[in-house]
C-alpha cells in the first residue's frame, strides 16, 4: 500500500511540471486564438466585445487577406514541389552512388538547416540586392548592353518567387537527409536484380525507390505544409515586411501586422483561426489523396 502511494507521488512529481508549462504556454494560447477570434478587441484597452462571427465575415471580403492567403498557398505548392524533387534526386544519388567526398557533400547540404532564418534572410538580401547583389552581377555579365538590374525583392511580380528561392535553399538539405535515411533501408538486392534485368537508373528510381519510401514522403508532405506557413512568415517578416505594397504578404505576417500595427487583436486571431483550420484541412486532403497500399519487400 505504501509502495503504490509512493509510486503515484513519483509519477505526479515527474509529469506535473511539464503538463503545467505545456498547458499555460501552449494549450491555453491555442484555445485563446479561437476564443479571441470572436471578439472585437481594439488594442491595449480592456475594451472587448463579443461579436460572433463578424470578424470572419469581414475577413473573407478583405482583399489583402485573400492575397496573403493566395501567396501562402502558392508558396506551399511551389516550395514543396521543387524541394521534394531536388531532395529526392540528391538523396537517391548520395545513397546509390559511390562517390568521392560524399560525406563532405552531405555535411554541406545540411548547413542551411542549422542557420537562423534571420541569417538566411540577410544572406539572400545580399544575393538579391538590385545594384550590387551576387545574382544581379552574374546576370549582368551575360547581358552587358541594355541590361536592367532585376529587383528580386522590389518587383511585385517576382518577390514571391524570390522568397520561395530562399525557402527552397533552406529546406533541400533537411529533406534530403530524411529521405536518405529511408532509402538506405531499401534492400540492395532489388537494385541488383533490376540491373540484371537491364532497367535504367531512372526506371529504378521511379519503380523501386519512390514506391518503397512512399510512406516517408507522405509524412514529409504534412511537414511541408506546416513549415512553409511558418517559414514564409519569418522570411517575409525579415526580408520584405510584406512589401512591396503587400505583394509578398503571407497569412501569418498579415496576422502579426493586424495584431501589432493595427492593434486589432480579435481580427488578427480570426486570421489565426482560419490558418489553423486551413492547414489541418490541407494536411488531411493531402494525406487522403496520397494514400497508397503500403508496399513491402
Amino acid at each position: 500500500m505504501r509502495k503504490s502511494k509512493q509510486k503515484s507521488l513519483f509519477t505526479f512529481i515527474c509529469v506535473a511540471p511539464s503538463v503545467i508549462l505545456f498547458t499555460i504556454f501552449m494549450l491555453i494560447p491555442t484555445i485563446n486564438i479561437f476564443w479571441m477570434s470572436l471578439l472585437k478587441w481594439g488594442g491595449l484597452s480592456a475594451n472587448k466585445k463579443f461579436v460572433g462571427l463578424s470578424n470572419f465575415i469581414k475577413l473573407f471580403s478583405d482583399l489583402n487577406f485573400i492575397r496573403s492567403l493566395q501567396n501562402t498557398l502558392f508558396l506551399i505548392v511551389i516550395v514543396t514541389l521543387v524541394t521534394i524533387s531536388f531532395a529526392l534526386v540528391f538523396a537517391a544519388i548520395l545513397t546509390r552512388e559511390k562517390l568521392k567526398g560524399q560525406n563532405i557533400l552531405r555535411i554541406v547540404f545540411y548547413i542551411p538547416n542549422i542557420l537562423s532564418v534571420v541569417v538566411i534572410s540577410a544572406i539572400f538580401s545580399a544575393v538579391y540586392d538590385p545594384s550590387n547583389g551576387l545574382l544581379n552581377t552574374i546576370v549582368g555579365l551575360f547581358q552587358p548592353e541594355n541590361w536592367k538590374t532585376i529587383k528580386f525583392l522590389g518587383n511585385p511580380d517576382i518577390v514571391v518567387y524570390s522568397i520561395a528561392g530562399a525557402m527552397i535553399w533552406q529546406a533541400i538539405g533537411y529533406y534530403m537527409v530524411m529521405y536518405m535515411a529511408s532509402m538506405s533501408s531499401i534492400s540492395i538486392h532489388l537494385y541488383e536484380a533490376a540491373d540484371l534485368e537491364g532497367a535504367s537508373k531512372i526506371k529504378q528510381f521511379f519503380d523501386i525507390t519512390l514506391p518503397l519510401i512512399w510512406t516517408n514522403i507522405r509524412t514529409t508532405l504534412t511537414f511541408f505544409v506546416i513549415s512553409s506557413i511558418n517559414l514564409s512568415f519569418l522570411f517575409v517578416k525579415v526580408m520584405t515586411t510584406g512589401g512591396p505594397d503587400g505583394a509578398s504578404e503571407t497569412v501569418l505576417s498579415y496576422l502579426y501586422k493586424q495584431a501589432y500595427d493595427n492593434a486589432s487583436y480579435g481580427y488578427g486571431m480570426a486570421i489565426g483561426a482560419v490558418v489553423f483550420v486551413v492547414s489541418f484541412l490541407l494536411s488531411a486532403v493531402i494525406n487522403h489523396v496520397t494514400k497508397r497500399d503500403v508496399i513491402q519487400f
Binding site: T11, C14, V15, P17, S18, V19, L21, F22, F25, M26, L27, I28, P29, T30, N32, L44, V89, F90, I93, E97, L99, R106, I107, V108, F109, Y110, I111, I114, L115, S116, V117, V118, V119, S121, A122, F124, S125, A126, V127, D129, N132, G133, L134, T137, W169, V177, M178, S182, S185, I213, N216, T219, I226, I229, F233, L234, L255, Y256, Y260, G268
Partner: protein, 287 residues
C-alpha cells in the same frame, strides 16, 4: 558505355551545382565581414583587400552585439536546463508507468507537435501583458514582459512536445531488467530514474539538446515580441542591424553581426554533425 558516362556527368554536375550554391553565399558572408565599407561599392565578387577586424569591434561596441550575445547564451542555456528538468522525468514516466490521464497527456503532447509557435505568439504576448497589468495595479511592478527568465520558460514550454516525444520513444527501447535489478538492490523510484535510467538515455538526451539548442539560439519571433525593450537577443539584434544598415550603409558591421550569430551553430554542427543527422531519423520520422 557512353550512356553511363552521361549519367555520371549529370550526377557530378548536379552535386557540384548544389554544393556551390550553398557554400558560396555562406562563405561570402564571412568574406564580407572583413571588408571595409568602401569595398561594398565595388563588385561583390571581389575578395576582401585586407582583414578589417574593426567591423567586429564595431558590432560588439556600437551595435551592442556583445551584450546580445551574452543574453542569447543565458537564454539558450536556461531554456535548455528548464526543458530537460521538466521533460526527462516526464518522458521516463510516460514511457514506463501506467497512471490516470496518461492517455490524455500523450494525446495532448502529440497534438502539441502540430501547434506552432508563430500562431500563438500573439496570445502569449497578450497573456503576459495582462498579468503585468494586474501586477502593476496591485504591486506597482512589471515582471513578465522584458524578462529573459520568463522567455526561457516559454522557450522550454514550446520544446516540450518534441522533446518528450523523442525521449519517450528512446526510454521504451531500454530493457526493463535494469529497473528490476535496481529494485532488488533497494533503489527507490527517484534513485532508479536518476542513477540508472537517465544515464542510459544519454544518447537521446544529447540529440534533444542539439536540436533544441539550434531552435533556441536561432529563434527570432518570440524574442522580438516578448522583449520589446532594449534587452535583445542576438537574432533580434541582427535584424535591427540589418534594417539599419540599409539607410546608413554600414554593411561591414552587419556581416560581422551575422558571423557572430552563425559561428557558434556552425562550430557545433561541424563537431557533432553525424549525431545531428542521425538524430533526425531517431525522432521517429523514419517509417
Amino acid at each position: 558505355m557512353k550512356k553511363i558516362n552521361l549519367y555520371k556527368v549529370f550526377v557530378y554536375v548536379a552535386l557540384f551545382s548544389l554544393f556551390i550554391s550553398i557554400i558560396i553565399p555562406v562563405a561570402w558572408v564571412f568574406m564580407a565581414s572583413i571588408k571595409e565599407n568602401a569595398e561594398f561599392y565595388t563588385s561583390p565578387w571581389n575578395l576582401p583587400k585586407g582583414f578589417y577586424f574593426q567591423n567586429f569591434i564595431n558590432a560588439f561596441e556600437k551595435a551592442k552585439m556583445g551584450e546580445y550575445f551574452l543574453n542569447s547564451v543565458i537564454l539558450t542555456g536556461l531554456s535548455l536546463i528548464i526543458l530537460l528538468v521538466v521533460s526527462v522525468p516526464a518522458a521516463y514516466v510516460l514511457a514506463r508507468y501506467e497512471f490516470k490521464f496518461k492517455k490524455l497527456i500523450n494525446i495532448l503532447y502529440m497534438a502539441g507537435l502540430f501547434i506552432n509557435v508563430n500562431y500563438i505568439v500573439v496570445p502569449i504576448f497578450l497573456m503576459l501583458l495582462n498579468w503585468d497589468n494586474i501586477l502593476y495595479k496591485y504591486l506597482n511592478v512589471e515582471f513578465f514582459l522584458n524578462n529573459i527568465f520568463v522567455l526561457a520558460i516559454i522557450y522550454a514550454a514550446t520544446g516540450i512536445p518534441f522533446t518528450i516525444y523523442l525521449l519517450q520513444s528512446y526510454f521504451k527501447t531500454i530493457s526493463k531488467s535494469y529497473e528490476d535489478a535496481a529494485c532488488i538492490d533497494g533503489c527507490d523510484y527517484f534513485q532508479t530514474m536518476i542513477k540508472i535510467m537517465i544515464p542510459l538515455a544519454k544518447p537521446s538526451i544529447i540529440t534533444v539538446i542539439l536540436f533544441n539548442f539550434l531552435a533556441f539560439w536561432n529563434e527570432y519571433i518570440i524574442a522580438l515580441t516578448m522583449l520589446p525593450n532594449s534587452n535583445k537577443t542576438l537574432p533580434v539584434g541582427v535584424v535591427n542591424l540589418y534594417q539599419a544598415s540599409r539607410g546608413k550603409a554600414e554593411y561591414g558591421m552587419l556581416y560581422a553581426g551575422l558571423v557572430i550569430v552563425m559561428l557558434p551553430t556552425l562550430i557545433l554542427y561541424i563537431l557533432v554533425q553525424r549525431k545531428l543527422t542521425e538524430g533526425m531519423t531517431v525522432g521517429g520520422i523514419k517509417d
